[in-house]
Subunit: 254 residues, 2 copies
C-alpha cells in the first residue's frame, strides 16, 4: 500500500487537556494505530510534561514531535478537513459520523493528499461549541446511551483504531500456529478411524448389530469435527496404540 | 432488539491484574459498551480495591458485581465459549480472530444462549500459555506491528466496543441538529438565486454577455453544494436584503 507511506495521516489535536498522564496515554494509543502527529492547544499544565512521558510507554517519539498552540483556529490552520469528537449532540446543523465512517472518510481524504485533523476536548467537559463549529463534521461513537463518557485516551484510541482497521487486511478468522496446523490427509484420518473402530469391535463396544452402522458414522463425524492436523492424527493413532498395550504394573517380578 | 435483553453478555475476566486503577478503567470501558459482568483471577492487590473505584468514573456498579477466583479454570467453569486476548502469536494451533470477528461470534453465541467470556492477562506480560490453552480462540487486534502493546483498559475497550458496534444500527453519516436541518424548498432556493443574480446584474458583476450564462450556472451550482436548510436559505435572502440597504453612517445629521 504505497498510499499509506506518502499520504498525510490525521493529526490528533488535544484541546485543553488537563492531565499529563492522559496526554501520554493518548500518544501510546496513537502509536498503537500508526498515528504520530499530536498537537496541543493550551495544555493545562504546560508543555513538556514529565507525567506524559511516564504514561507514553514507548511512544515518546510522538510526544517529542508535539507542537503547542494558543488557540484552536491556529492549530487547524494548515488542515483541510477537521473532525470534532463529541459524546453528546450539539444541536448544530453539521454532519455526524461514527468513528468507523470517519475512518473511511479520513482514508479517502489521505488518498487525495488532503490534510486532516481530529479534535478532542478536555477530560472534564469535552469540546466547547466554538471549537466544534470549526469542524467539518462531528464524530460520535455509538455507545451505551446510559454511560457514554469516555476517558480521553479511550476516545483517541477508538478513532485511531478505526483509522488502522479501515486499511487493515488481516483475515477475520484464521488458524494460528500454521506450521503445525497442516490439515490431516484423509488416509491418516482413515487409519485413525480404522484403528479405533477395530479396537471397539474387539471389545464389543456396539452391543447391537443394528446400531453399528449409525454408531460408527457418528464417531466418524465426531472425528471430522475435531478437524485434526496431520500431526494431531498421528498423535491420536499413537494414543490408541498405547491404550492397547497391557498396563505396566512396574516393579520386578517377584 | 429483544435478544440483547435476554441473551447472556460476555463476561470480562481479568487475570492477575496489577493496578487497581486499571481494573477501574476496565469497568468504565465495559459499561461504556454495555458490558457489566467482570471476574478477577488473583488480582495482585486483593479485592475490593479503592484505587479501582476512583478510576471507574461512574461504573462502580460493575465493580460491585465483581467475583474473584483463585485460578482461571474456576473462573471459566460455567462458560461455554472463551476467547483469549493476546498481542503476539503463541504458536498454538487455535483459531485467531480479530476483535471485530470475535464480536460477531460473541453476538451469535449470545443469540443461542451460549455463555461466553473474554480473558485478559496482566499488564506487564499478558496471558500465560496455560490460560490461552483454556480458550476456544485467540483474539488479536490488528495494530501497528512496531508498537502493539495496549494498555489493559484499552484492550478491554476494543473488545467491548466491537461487541457494541456489532449490534448497533446508528447511521454511519447523518446530519445533526435535524430539527433545523429541513432541506430548503426549491422555490426558496430559487428566490434566493433570483435575488442574488438581480443584485449582481444591477451592479455589472458579469462584464461579458457571453460569459453570463456560464457564470450564473456556476453560482447556482455553488449554492446547491452549500445545501442550505429552509432556514439557511431564508437567512441568506435576509443577508442579501440587508446588503442592498444603504450603509447606516450613524450619528445625527449635522
Amino acid at each position: 500500500m504505497s498510499e499509506s507511506n506518502a499520504a498525510p495521516h490525521p493529526v490528533v489535536i488535544l484541546i485543553g487537556a488537563q492531565m499529563g498522564e492522559n496526554i501520554g496515554a493518548c500518544a501510546r494509543a496513537m502509536l498503537n494505530c500508526g498515528l504520530t502527529e499530536m498537537r496541543l492547544v493550551r495544555p493545562r499544565d504546560g508543555w513538556p510534561n514529565p507525567a506524559a512521558e511516564a504514561m507514553a510507554a514507548g511512544a515518546v517519539s510522538v510526544l517529542n514531535g508535539v507542537t503547542v498552540f494558543d488557540d484552536t483556529p491556529s492549530a487547524v490552520a494548515d488542515l483541510q478537513r477537521v473532525y470534532a469528537t463529541t459524546a453528546r449532540p450539539r444541536g448544530m446543523v453539521k454532519p455526524v459520523v461514527t468513528p468507523r465512517q470517519a475512518a473511511v472518510e479520513l482514508r479517502q481524504q489521505a488518498g487525495q493528499g488532503v490534510r486532516t485533523g481530529i479534535l478532542f476536548g478536555p477530560e472534564n467537559a469535552g469540546l466547547n461549541n466554538d471549537d466544534v463549529a470549526l469542524a467539518d463534521a462531528i464524530v460520535t461513537a455509538p455507545l451505551n446511551p446510559g454511560f457514554t463518557s469516555l476517558n480521553l485516551a479511550q476516545a483517541v484510541l477508538l478513532l485511531a483504531y478505526e483509522w488502522f482497521q479501515a486499511r487493515d487486511t488481516t483475515a477475520p478468522r484464521a488458524l494460528g500456529g500454521a506450521e503445525e496446523a497442516i490439515p490431516a490427509r484423509k488416509e491418516t484420518l482413515e487409519a485413525l478411524f480404522r484403528r479405533l473402530s477395530g479396537m471397539l469391535d474387539a471389545r464389543g463396544y456396539v452391543r447391537s448389530e443394528d446400531l453399528k452402522e449409525t454408531t460408527m458414522r457418528n464417531l466418524r463425524n465426531l472425528l471430522l469435527r475435531i478437524d485434526p492436523s496431520e500431526q494431531d492424527a498421528r498423535t491420536l493413532i499413537g494414543v490408541l496404540a498405547s491404550l492397547e498395550r497391557p498396563v505396566d504394573t512396574g516393579g520386578a517380578a517377584d
